[in-house]
C-alpha cells in the first residue's frame, strides 16, 4: 500500500452508495426539456380521441346522434357503448371487484361521465366533433349527500345491480350499498365504553380531494394488425398490472401486449387505476389500425379520474380520567361515487383503515365501514398515502386532540402517555397489525425539544389573555401530530390485486467491465428511482452508482411487479434489489475464492472487494470479479453474473413521525399564517437524505393544500364546482410555508436494508398537524372540531359563529 492507495473511506465515498446525497441521474434530461412523457410520443398516422361527456349527474341516455360529428372532415369514427358491446367492452372490471361503464350504457351516473369517444386525425378536430354529437338525456334525481344514500327512498343509481344482494365484499343491505367491512372486538369495545370515565364522540369528515399531478392521465395505443400485437404508452404507476388487465379484458395474449410507462409527470395515486380513456384508445386503435392518442385536459382530470378521501368518520374514544385510552370505536360512511373503483388490495375494501388506532396503545378497538354509491366520480385512490391511511391518521389525530381537550390535558402530554412504548415492539395492534419497530417517545420528545414546546404553550397562553383583553385580533395555534404509517404492501398472505400477490421484483445484470443494468417492477413518477436503486446496488456490490443503469416501466424487459404507490417501492422493490444483489455477491465470492485459491469462508467483504481474512493485500475487486465471471469461473459453475429476486415481504413497514405546526389566525379575515412547521420522520435506513428531504417537502406541501383549501365540491344538483385550477387549490410558492425536517432512525427489522419508505409520510402526518393547529387556536373558546379544509372563508365563519365579530 502506498500514499496513492485510496483509503477505505475514499473507496466507500467513490461508490455513492446508501446514505449519501447523490445528485439525481434523471435531472440531466429533465432540466434540458429532454424527458419523454406520454404526450411526447408521436407515431406516424397517429389519431386523437376526445370524449363527449355528460352534463348531468344522473340521467337516462335516450339517444346519441353522431351524424353531424361524422361529417366533420378528419373524423374517422364515434364510439359509443353500443359499439363497445360488439367487443364486450361497454363495461370494465374495477380493481375493487365492481364493474364500471367505459361509455354510458343507458344511464349516466356522474357529471362529465364518458358518453362517446370521437376519433379524428387531429386533436382540434376531435374536440370540434365531440361538440356536434347530440345526446338526448332524461334527467333523474341526483344523490349527492352520502348520508342520504341508504335512505329508503334514495334514488336507485345502479340499475345493473338490481336484485344483487351480494357484492364483491359480502352482503349489500341497500340498493346504494357497496359493502360493510368490520374489524376488531365489538363486544370488548362496548364493555370498555360502559366502564369508561371519559368518552368523546365526533363526526370527523375528510373531504373529497384529488391528487392532481401536473401531468394529467394520458396514453397512446397502437395495434399492429399484422402481428396482432398491442403497444400502449401510458401514465401508468403499475404498468404490469395494466398489461394483465388489458389482456384479460381484450383477450389479446399477454405476451402480445407491450405496456410502456415512459417518464411520468407525478402520480400521487391518480395513475394507478384503469380509466375509460385507456380502453377507448385501445379499441379505437384496434378498429382503425392506427395509433390513437388520448390526453385528458385538467377539467377532465379533476372531475373524472381518481378522486381521493370522501370519508365520513364518527370516532369515539374511551379513557380513564387520568388520561389512558381504553377503547376506540369508528364508524365510517365511505362515499365511493358511482362505481367502486378504489385501488386497494383486493381483500381490503376500506384499505388499511384499521391502522386507525394510530401510534397509541388501545387495548380494544372496532371499526365499521359502509361503502356507498353516490352520483359522483368513481375513484377512492390513495392520494400520496397507503390505502386509506391518511383518513385513519386524520381521524385518530383529531380524536386524540378532542379527548385531550375534554380531559384538560396538553395534547402532547396526552400522546406521550398513550404512545406504544419501545419495549412493546413488535406490537400487535387491537385491529390486527404487527407494527415492526418504533421508538415513539424519543421522536416526540425530540420534536418538542427542538421547537421549544413549553415556551410556545406559554406564549400561546399570553396571547390568549391579550386577545381576551382586546389587544390583538390574532389567535395562535399549535398543532401536534404523531403518526404511524403502514406501507410496503404487501405480504402475499393478505395482499393481492386481482389475485396477483403484491410482491415486487428486481433483476440485476453485471456486464464484464463491471457496469450494471438493473430492471425493476416499480415505476418512478418523480421519486428518483434511477438514482436511489443504484445507490442500494452500489453499497451491496461495491460498484460505483454512476456505472449502474436503472430501468423501469417497460413490461417487455422489466420483471413483473405491482408498481409504485402506497410507498411500496423501497419496502418491496428496494428489498428485492438488495436480495438480488446478495445472490450476485455470493457467486462473486465463490469466483474470488477460486481466483485467490482459498476457501469461500476465508474471504471477507471490504467495501468493493473480497479480501483474504488476515491478509488484506490479497483481494479481488468486484470489477475484477465481473470480468472473471465471464472467463474464469470455477469448474462446474455457469458463467455470467446476474440475478433476479421476486420479493414477498414478510410484513409491512411502519414509518412514523412527530410533526409540530405553529400558526397564527387573523379572526377578522380568517387568514392563517404558518409560522413554523417542524417534521421529524423515521423511515428506517436512509438511502438518500437529499431525496428524503425533497419527498418530505413535497408531501407537506400537498398536506398543506388538502388541510387548508382543497376540496372537490359538488352542488346539490351534482355539478362539480371545483374542476379547474381556478377553483381547486394548489399551493404556489407564495402560500407554501418553509419546512424544517429532522429524523430519527429505527431500521425495519425484517427489511434487508432496514428501510421503510417515506414518500407519503408527510402527507399522512401533515394533514392532521395543520388541522390540529387550526383547531388548537380556537379551542380555548369552546370549539372542539372544525371541518377541513381550513380556507380563509371557513375559518372566518368559525370565528363569526364563536361570536368573535360581535
Amino acid at each position: 500500500m502506498n500514499d496513492l492507495t485510496p483509503t477505505r473511506e475514499q473507496r466507500t465515498a467513490a461508490l455513492e452508495g446508501m446514505g449519501c446525497k447523490r445528485k439525481r441521474v434523471e435531472d440531466i434530461r429533465f432540466t434540458q426539456g429532454k424527458g419523454n412523457y406520454v404526450d411526447d410520443v408521436k407515431l406516424p398516422g397517429m389519431l386523437h380521441g376526445d370524449f363527449v361527456r355528460s352534463p348531468h349527474a344522473h340521467a337516462r341516455v335516450k339517444s346519441i346522434n353522431s351524424e353531424e360529428a361524422l361529417k366533420v372532415p378528419g373524423v374517422l369514427a364515434v364510439i359509443t357503448a353500443e359499439t363497445l358491446k360488439t367487443v364486450n367492452l361497454a363495461w370494465m372490471p374495477t380493481l375493487a371487484g365492481d364493474v364500471q361503464m367505459v361509455l354510458a350504457d343507458g344511464k349516466v351516473l356522474f357529471q362529465n361521465q364518458e358518453v362517446a369517444f370521437v376519433i379524428a386525425d387531429d386533436r382540434y378536430v376531435a374536440s370540434d366533433a365531440a361538440d356536434l354529437v347530440e345526446v338526448e338525456y332524461q334527467a333523474l334525481p341526483p344523490l349527492i349527500n352520502p348520508f342520504n344514500a341508504m335512505a329508503a327512498d334514495a334514488p336507485v343509481l345502479r340499475d345493473d345491480l338490481t336484485g344483487k344482494t351480494d357484492g364483491a365484499h359480502g352482503a349489500r343491505k341497500h340498493h346504494n350499498h357497496i359493502f360493510n367491512w368490520q374489524m376488531g372486538d365489538k363486544d370488548g369495545v362496548d364493555a370498555a365504553f360502559r366502564k369508561a370515565d371519559v368518552t368523546i364522540k365526533e363526526l370527523i369528515s375528510y373531504q373529497r380531494v384529488h391528487p392532481c399531478p401536473l401531468e394529467t392521465c394520458q396514453c397512446v395505443a397502437s395495434f399492429d394488425k399484422i402481428k396482432g400485437e398491442l403497444t400502449v404508452w401510458g401514465t401508468f404507476q403499475a404498468p404490469h398490472v395494466i398489461r394483465t388487465v388489458a389482456s384479460l379484458i381484450s383477450k389479446i395474449p399477454e405476451h402480445k401486449i407491450h405496456v410502456i410507462s415512459p417518464d411520468i409527470g407525478g402520480g400521487f395515486g391518480n395513475k394507478v387505476g384503469a380509466y375509460p380513456g385507456y380502453i377507448c384508445a385501445i379499441v379505437a386503435s384496434i378498429v382503425t389500425g392506427r395509433p390513437v392518442k388520448w390526453v385528458e385536459d385538467r377539467i377532465e382530470n379533476l372531475s373524472t379520474t381518481a378522486f381521493a378521501r370522501d370519508y365520513h368518520m364518527t370516532a369515539e374514544i374511551a379513557a380513564t380520567k387520568d388520561g389512558k385510552v381504553t377503547a376506540l370505536r369508528v364508524y365510517t360512511i365511505a362515499d365511493h361515487g358511482a362505481f367502486d373503483a378504489c385501488a386497494d388490495p383486493t381483500k381490503w375494501p376500506a384499505g388499511f383503515f384499521n391502522i386507525v388506532t394510530g401510534s397509541y396503545d388501545f387495548p380494544v378497538a372496532h371499526v365499521n365501514v359502509d361503502g356507498i354509491y353516490t352520483n359522483k366520480a368513481p375513484g377512492g385512490v390513495a392520494y400520496r398515502c397507503s390505502f386509506r391511511v391518511t383518513e385513519a391518521a386524520y381521524c385518530i389525530e383529531r380524536a386524540m386532540d378532542i379527548m385531550a381537550q375534554k380531559l384538560g390535558m396538553d395534547p402532547a402530554e396526552f400522546r406521550m402517555k398513550n404512545l406504544i412504548r419501545r419495549e412493546q415492539f413488535p406490537y400487535t395492534s387491537a385491529l390486527g397489525w404487527e407494527y415492526d419497530s418504533g421508538d415513539y417517545h424519543v421522536a416526540l420528545q425530540k420534536a418538542m425539544d427542538t421547537v421549544g414546546y413549553a415556551a410556545l404553550r406559554a406564549e400561546q397562553k399570553a396571547r390568549q389573555e391579550a386577545f381576551k383583553r382586546g389587544e390583538t385580533r390574532e389567535l395562535m395555534g399549535i398543532g401536534v401530530a404523531f403518526f404511524t404509517e403502514i406501507v410496503g404492501a404487501g405480504p402475499s398472505r393478505n395482499c393481492d390485486i386481482l389475485g396477483i400477490a403484491m410482491f415486487d421484483s428486481a433483476e440485476i445484470r453485471i456486464h464484464p467491465t463491471g457496469s450494471v443494468i438493473a430492471r425493476l417492477g416499480t415505476k418512478s413518477q418523480g421519486q428518483g428511482h434511477e438514482t436511489t436503486y443504484a445507490q442500494i446496488i452500489a453499497t451491496e456490490l461495491g460498484l460505483t452508482a454512476d456505472n449502474i443503469a436503472i430501468e423501469e416501466g417497460n413490461t417487455d424487459t422489466a420483471p413483473y411487479g405491482l408498481g409504485t404507490y402506497g410507498s411500496r417501492s423501497t419496502p418491496v422493490s428496494g428489498a428485492a434489489t438488495a436480495v438480488a444483489a446478495r445472490k450476485i455477491k455470493a457467486k462473486a465470492q465463490m469466483i474470488a475464492a477460486h481466483l485467490l485459491e482459498v476457501h469461500d469462508d476465508d474471504l471477507e467483504w471490504d467495501v468493493d472487494r473480497f479480501r483474504v481474512k488476515g491478509n488484506p493485500e490479497q483481494f479481488k475487486t468486484m470489477t475484477e470479479l465481473a470480468w472473471a465471471a465471464y472467463n474464469k469461473v470455477p469448474p462446474g459453475m455457469e458463467p455470467g453474473l446476474e440475478a433476479v429476486s421476486y420479493y414477498d415481504p414478510p410484513n409491512m413497514t411502519y414509518p412514523f413521525g412527530a410533526y409540530i405546526c405553529v400558526l397564527d389566525v387573523d379572526v377578522d379575515t380568517g387568514a392563517t399564517k404558518v409560522r413554523r412547521f417542524y417534521a421529524l420522520d423515521d423511515c428506517g435506513t436512509r438511502i438518500n437524505p437529499m431525496i428524503i428531504e425533497g419527498q418530505i417537502h413535497g408531501g407537506l406541501t400537498e398536506a398543506f393544500g388538502i388541510a387548508m383549501g382543497q376540496e372537490i365540491h359538488y352542488d346539490e344538483d351534482g355539478n362539480v364546482t371545483t374542476a379547474s385550477l381556478m377553483d381547486y387549490f394548489l399551493p404556489t410558492a407564495v402560500e407554501t410555508p418553509v419546512w424544517e425536517t429532522d429524523w430519527t432512525t429505527t431500521p425495519s427489522p425484517h427489511h434487508p436494508i432496514g428501510a421503510k419508505g417515506v414518500g407519503e409520510s408527510p402527507n399522512v402526518g401533515g394533514v392532521p398537524c395543520f388541522a390540529n393547529a387550526v383547531n388548537d387556536a380556537f379551542k380555548f373558546l369552546g370549539s372542539t372540531h372544525i371541518a377541513m379544509p381550513h380556507d380563509h372563508w371557513r375559518t372566518w365563519t368559525v370565528a363569526d359563529k364563536l361570536g368573535l365579530h360581535a
Binding site: 386533436r123 399531478p213 401531468e215 418523480g526 428531504e693 419527498q695 417537502h697 385550477l725 394548489l730 419546512w739
Partner: protein, 166 residues
C-alpha cells in the same frame, strides 16, 4: 380550416410554419417544431408548465395563439443550456439543490426563473417566491426551487452560495 403562415425565431433559429388561426402557441412549439420540453398542465394559464420566453417576457404559451407570436423571438427550455452543451447556472442549480422531482414543471420553472434573474439579479427569498408564483410544482414544495434559483443567482453574480444545512 384556412391556414396562416407564421415565422418566428425560436432558440436563435428562424422557423416557419402553417397554422390555423386557433392553433395555440404551445401546440405549434410541441407539434410543429417538435420541441416537447414545453409541457401542458392545465390549458387555462394557471400552472405555468407551458411557460416560454417571448421578446423578453415570460408567457404561458397555452393561452396565446401561434399567430400572435408571428415575428417574435422565443426561447424554450431547449435553448437554455450553454453554447458548449453544459448546463446553465439555473439548470445546474436545479440539479444541485434538488429543485425538481417528476420534472414536468421544470422547463417552465427554469424559463421563468431565467427571466426573473434578468429582471432582478439578486432577488430575496420573498421576491423569488413571488416571482415564480405563476408556476405550480406538485412535487417539491418549492423550498428547493428557491434554493436552486439562489444557487444560480450566486453563480451568475460570481459570489459564493452557502448551502443551508439539512
Amino acid at each position: 380550416m384556412a391556414k396562416t403562415h407564421v415565422t418566428m425565431k425560436v432558440n436563435g433559429a428562424e422557423v416557419e410554419g402553417l397554422v390555423e388561426p386557433r392553433t395555440l402557441l404551445v401546440h405549434f412549439i410541441r407539434e410543429n417544431l417538435q420541441l416537447t420540453g414545453t409541457h401542458i398542465g392545465c390549458e387555462t394559464t394557471h400552472c405555468g408548465a407551458c411557460t416560454v420566453d417571448i421578446d423578453g417576457m415570460s408567457v404561458k404559451s397555452c393561452t396565446m395563439f401561434a399567430v400572435q407570436a408571428d415575428g417574435s423571438d422565443i426561447m424554450t427550455i431547449e435553448g437554455v443550456a450553454n453554447a458548449d452543451g453544459t448546463l446553465s447556472a439555473l439548470q445546474e442549480g436545479f440539479r444541485m439543490m434538488h429543485g425538481l422531482q417528476c420534472g414536468f414543471c421544470t422547463p417552465g420553472m427554469i424559463i421563468r426563473a431565467q427571466r426573473l434573474l434578468q429582471e432582478n439579479p439578486q432577488p430575496s427569498e420573498q421576491e423569488i417566491r413571488m416571482g415564480i408564483s405563476g408556476n405550480i410544482c406538485r412535487c417539491t414544495g418549492y423550498q428547493n426551487i428557491v434554493r436552486a434559483i439562489q444557487y444560480a443567482a450566486a453563480k451568475i453574480n460570481g459570489v459564493e452560495f452557502k448551502e443551508a444545512a439539512e
